[in-house]
């Protein structure tokens, strides 16, 4: 069987989930596949059981999120882009419900039908409204099966569409007036929403809907060491899936983490922060691309690759960001380049890209 390009969390960590289920003797909330403690162990790791750590942020945040999902409240994960909100929601859904596939992607064009249900119009026209003609949304399925559904980028949906969730969250039921029926959510049902703080919208959720969610802000990783470990681990996994073997020097990852940290510090230094998103996810993409470049083009990895990939995948064509990076190179990197080879390569490549 050909492995899909991207495995869902329940496929990727099937062994760990099975192990945890087997070992789990604690009481479970109704409809949950695992106990809250096992869910926590799945996400934060349990070395004694050989369960890997998957989320590198604050443990307390994960605990709060798990407890929120045990209650009648939905869980809303907000935060800057690339802070693993979607990954966390996927892990939570697969650990709690055994599946993370009940997903709605919120966009400006999301309609109420995508949140509730729509119709197979051929059947509707030939037979009239019936359960057979009903096309259920992932949320409809989650309610029926008592599972956790996810809505990505909820605040990108128009507010009137978002508000369709109010009755689902408060009444835990969904009415189909065309059939005169109302389905009631089974125990275990809940919603996880994610929202990007960089996008307009989070504050435009109606108060009524906000009240039905518990909010958790997922921050950027503050600990450089943790971030380095996370990048190394993520890139290694991605490369292994592609059967590519490249040794990535920790100094190079440290360089990238340092650059990102320098440029993230809004108001804390004389440097201007970039418009571009500088999340750990972006850092993973950069290192991954560098590794592929090194592997396929047979080039030894250097600081120059970091600068080039950073330009392509993060800075893109933003002229203002380039000017800020030129200033960063001039003020900060120039000094470091005098002493360290990786920084010198980064400086030279960056000079060509941003200072010319």
């Amino acid at each position: 069987m050909v492995r899909p390009l991207r495995q869902r969390a329940e496929q990727k960590f099937a062994d760990e989930l099975a192990l945890l289920k087997e070992q789990d003797s604690a009481s479970k909330p109704q409809g949950w596949q695992l106990s809250p403690r096992a869910v926590k162990a799945f996400i934060l790791g349990e070395p004694e059981l050989g369960v890997d750590k998957k989320y590198y942020g604050e443990a307390a945040l994960v605990e709060r999120a798990i407890v929120s999902l045990m209650s009648n409240q939905g869980l809303m994960l907000v935060g800057p882009p690339g802070t693993a909100k979607s990954m966390l929601s996927e892990l939570l859904a697969c650990a709690i419900s055994g599946t993370s596939e009940l997903l709605v992607q919120g966009t400006a064009g999301t309609s109420e039908e995508q949140l509730k249900y729509t119709w197979n119009f051929a059947q509707l026209l030939s037979n009239g409204p019936s359960l057979e003609a009903l096309v259920k949304s992932p949320i409809y399925h989650a309610m029926e099966q008592g599972k956790v559904a996810r809505i990505e980028e909820l605040t990108r949906c128009p507010q009137e569409i978002q508000d369709a969730l109010i009755s689902i969250l408060s009444e835990k039921q969904l009415t189909v007036p065309e059939l005169g029926v109302s389905i009631q959510a089974q125990p275990g049902f809940n919603l996880i929403g994610t929202a990007n703080l960089a996008d307009k919208g989070v504050n435009e959720m109606s108060s009524a809907l906000k009240r039905r969610f518990n909010f958790e802000t997922v921050p950027v990783l503050q600990d450089p060491l943790q971030e380095r470990r996370l990048i190394q681990s993520q890139v290694s996994t991605q490369l292994a899936q592609q059967s590519v073997s490249v040794a990535i020097a920790d100094e190079l990852v440290a360089l990238l983490v340092q650059v990102f940290n320098d440029l993230r510090r809004k108001g804390q230094s004389n440097l201007q922060s970039l418009e571009a998103v500088l999340s750990t996810a972006e850092a993973v993409n950069i290192v991954h691309a560098c590794a592929l470049q090194s592997h396929f083009l047979q080039q030894p990895l250097s600081g120059a690759h970091i600068a080039q990939q950073m330009h392509g995948s993060v800075i893109k064509d933003n002229v203002e960001d380039m000017a800020k990076l030129a200033s960063y190179l001039d003020i900060i990197v120039r000094e470091r380049a005098r002493e360290q080879a990786h920084w010198r390569d980064f400086f030279e490549a960056g000079k060509v890209l941003w200072m010319s």
Binding site: P36, R64, I66, S71
Partner: protein, 746 residues
């Protein structure tokens, strides 16, 4: 606590801990509610006849006041710049209270404070918290910091007995201590202190009574090896004071390194647990206390359920502030409004209570006097939070004047009770038209400590102020004396100024520095002209007249000064005379200078320009400059530059000046022009854009240029120009608000 089950080591510690039936060990963390609760249990079950406490021996004199029913923590013992604080939830406080109630003997077994190598830092818990052992446990239990770890290990758990609790504390502290070398302990001064403590334990042990040893857990492992033959040294008699303390000062998050975070919350937690409040009631009560008004019952239930779930997941019985804060944030934080409320909540948890001492017990008369004065001036001392007092300084009533005098006196004496936030600056003569003055004040233990130190002078604040000022006077130079006069007047001691005016005048006669004299003159004039000091006007006037005479007598020095310095002085004097209407006399003085001496050319023309009062005078001056220009263009330019520096608007208003400047610039080479460009720029910077525009038009006319002179910088974007216009508009509004409209007109 599996890490602590290190077999042999645990066994050894256990044997030492339970070795003697007559001794109970209570290793604690300062201010820990759990330590206090289990200590009370241990005291009640063991009933020691003597309680040994880790506190400097010379603090023993305060135990009666500490244990008094009228005392309300937080309080602290103060000595030589350091505090030994006691909160309601401090084990030491509970032990003292218990001993006084039961008649048990109390001994303070630490070295006297003066012999501590590290001062207040000796009670620092950061050694305990920062050990690599603690850090490993933090990772293991996924705690955010050492305080959360402490809460999880000790505050949130139930133990079978007090001994079981203290033994676990001992294991934790011993493992933490083992992470530090002997050399580090010696450097910190712990070894000497522990030696002293062992001597005390030995002395108590010899008596044969039941003793309880209450010390920081970090020290306990070193105390087991006490020796019955050890001699106890005599304790020196060192003065220390019992003072009130505040909850914010106990907060570890604000830098008190022996504290726990959120002392207000910690105290409540202790009191509720002491009252045996049921667990769920405890949760509900805490949520009820922190819920804002806009939270509904449903919201509170939601948070209570969340908290229960969180405690269950974390395997805890009691909620710490970490858990409560987590649940409250999860359930209630949903936007900016709630974020600011959460910040308020954290302030509530920090607490704001100020301790109380028994009436008449220790409060020094000066502290009582200052408190009474503060109350008399309607300044609240109820809370330890900062408050503001606002005065209308243009229509000051008697009470306003007195209140201000009181606050100023405190400020002048360095009592950290108040600071002036907004108001006129008399020393610089700035903001004098400001209608209101705003002071911020806050009663705190530091205020009491400063008063303690000042008590040596007198029991009354006015006497302290007077004595302090009198002590300062002999050593002051002229500038210091001017400051002294200003301080005395602002403290309401005009009589003191009058008595010492002649001494100040003597210093004045010796003062020849023009800059110092001008600065002193501005200072005194600012006070004399201000309605707040109308009563002192006559007193100050005498001094000002003498200062003016002295100043005028020194004006001849101008010739000896560098051009820049002399111009600055002339500019200051010109401003002083315009502001304080001294112009007629000023002109007389200028005339006197011009007529008496030969001068540097530029100075002569500058003074002549200052004296010119009519267009005829200005034309005559222009004519003279033209003649000078024909003889010596460089000297003429220097004179012109000096005039333009002092009276920049002449460039716009007096065509002859501009014509001369233009002619001279035509003659000089490019190199010479580059050299003088900075001074030209400086000259024009003092003009506004309209004036420069008019000058540009005139220059165009004089030189008969066809094209309009583009004086505006090229290459500046429209955005920058718009931004500059906006900033200028904002500056105009600000200046008007500050009563400085005259700056805009000329």
């Amino acid at each position: 606590m599996d890490e602590l089950n290190a077999g042999q080591w645990k066994q050894e510690l256990s044997e030492l801990f339970y070795a003697d039936e007559r001794i109970r060990w209570a290793p604690i963390r300062h201010h820990s509610p759990a330590c206090s609760l289990y200590l009370i249990e241990l005291l009640n079950t063991f009933e020691p006849e003597q309680v040994l406490i880790e506190a400097p021996a010379n603090y023993l004199q305060h135990v009666d006041d500490i244990a008094s029913a009228h005392t309300k923590p937080p309080i602290a013992i103060y000595q030589q710049g350091s505090f030994f604080p006691l909160a309601e939830n401090s084990p030491e406080y509970q032990a003292i209270k218990w001993a006084k109630q039961t008649g048990a003997e109390i001994s303070f077994i630490d070295l006297p404070h003066s012999q501590h190598a590290s001062g207040e830092a000796c009670w620092d818990e950061s050694w305990l918290n920062s050990s690599s052992y603690s850090q490993q446990l933090q990772q293991r239990y996924q705690c955010r910091d050492a305080d959360e770890l402490w809460c999880r290990l000790f505050e949130q758990k139930e133990f079978t007995s007090a001994d079981a609790f203290f033994f676990q504390v001992l294991l934790f502290c011993a493992a933490s201590r083992a992470c530090f070398s002997q050399a580090q302990l010696v450097r910190q001064g712990d070894e000497l202190r522990e030696d002293h403590m062992r001597a005390h334990i030995s002395a108590a042990h010899k008596k044969g009574c039941k003793i309880l040893v209450l010390t920081g857990g970090f020290h306990t492992p070193a105390l087991f090896a006490f020796d019955d033959h050890r001699q106890l040294n005599q304790t020196p008699d060192e003065p220390s004071y019992l003072v009130r303390y505040s909850e914010p000062q106990l907060d570890a998050l604000l830098g008190y390194r022996a504290g726990m975070p959120y002392p207000g919350y910690t105290k409540e937690w202790f009191l509720m647990r002491q009252s045996k409040v049921a667990h769920f009631d405890l949760v509900l009560t805490m949520l009820e206390r922190c819920a804002p008004d806009f939270m509904s019952v449903a919201d509170k239930i939601k948070a209570a359920e969340h908290l229960q779930g969180l405690l269950q997941l974390r395997g805890m019985n009691q909620p710490s502030y970490y858990d409560l804060s987590d649940s409250v944030a999860s359930c209630w934080l949903q936007g900016e409004k709630t974020t600011s409320w959460f910040t308020q909540l954290q302030l509530e948890w920090r607490g704001r209570a100020l301790g109380e001492l028994p009436e008449g017990s220790v409060e020094l008369p000066l502290i009582a006097n200052v408190r009474a004065l503060a109350k008399q001036h309607r300044l609240s001392l109820q809370y330890s939070e900062a408050k503001k007092a606002r005065f209308d300084v243009f229509e000051p009533s008697g009470s306003t004047r007195n209140r201000r005098q009181f606050l100023f006196s405190c400020c002048m004496l360095g009592i950290p009770f108040c600071t002036r936030l907004v108001g006129p600056s008399f020393s610089h003569g700035a903001d004098l038209s400001r209608q209101h003055e705003v002071w911020e004040y806050q009663w705190s233990p530091h205020v009491e400590v400063t008063l303690l130190e000042l008590s040596e002078l007198s029991d009354r604040l006015d006497e302290v102020v007077k004595k302090t000022l009198l002590m300062q006077l002999p050593d002051l130079d002229f500038e210091g004396r001017i400051e002294w006069i200003a301080n005395a007047i602002q403290c309401g001691l005009d009589g003191l100024v009058a008595d010492n005016l002649s001494a100040c005048c003597q210093a004045l006669e010796l003062q020849t520095d023009l800059k110092v004299l001008i600065s002193a003159m501005i200072h005194m004039l600012s006070l004399a002209k201000h309605p707040l000091f109308a009563r002192e006007h006559d007193l100050l006037r005498e001094l000002i007249e003498k200062m003016w005479q002295q100043l005028c007598g020194q004006l001849m020095q101008l010739n000896a000064l560098q051009t820049r310095e002399a111009l600055d002085i002339l500019m200051s004097l010109q401003g002083l005379c315009v502001t304080y209407q001294l112009a007629p006399d000023w002109k007389v003085q200028l005339q006197r200078i011009v007529s008496k001496q030969s001068h540097k050319t530029w100075l002569y023309y500058t003074i002549s320009a200052l004296m010119a009062s009519s267009s005829e005078d200005i034309d005559a001056l222009g004519h003279e400059l033209t003649l000078l220009y024909s003889r010596d263009p460089q000297v003429a330019f220097d004179a012109l530059r000096a005039i333009a520096s002092l009276l920049p608007h002449w460039l716009d208003q007096q065509p002859v000046i501009l014509t001369l400047l233009n002619g001279w610039l035509e003659l000089i080479s490019d190199e010479q022009f580059n050299l003088i460009l900075p001074s030209l720029r400086k000259m024009f910077c003092r003009l506004d854009s309209q004036e420069i525009d008019r000058i540009a038009q005139r220059v165009q006319g004089i030189n008969q240029w066809d094209e309009r002179l583009a004086w505006q910088p090229i290459g500046i974007s429209q955005d920058s120009i718009d931004r500059a216009a906006y900033l200028q508009q904002e500056m105009i509004i600000n200046l008007k608000q500050q009563g400085l409209s005259e700056w805009l007109s000329d």
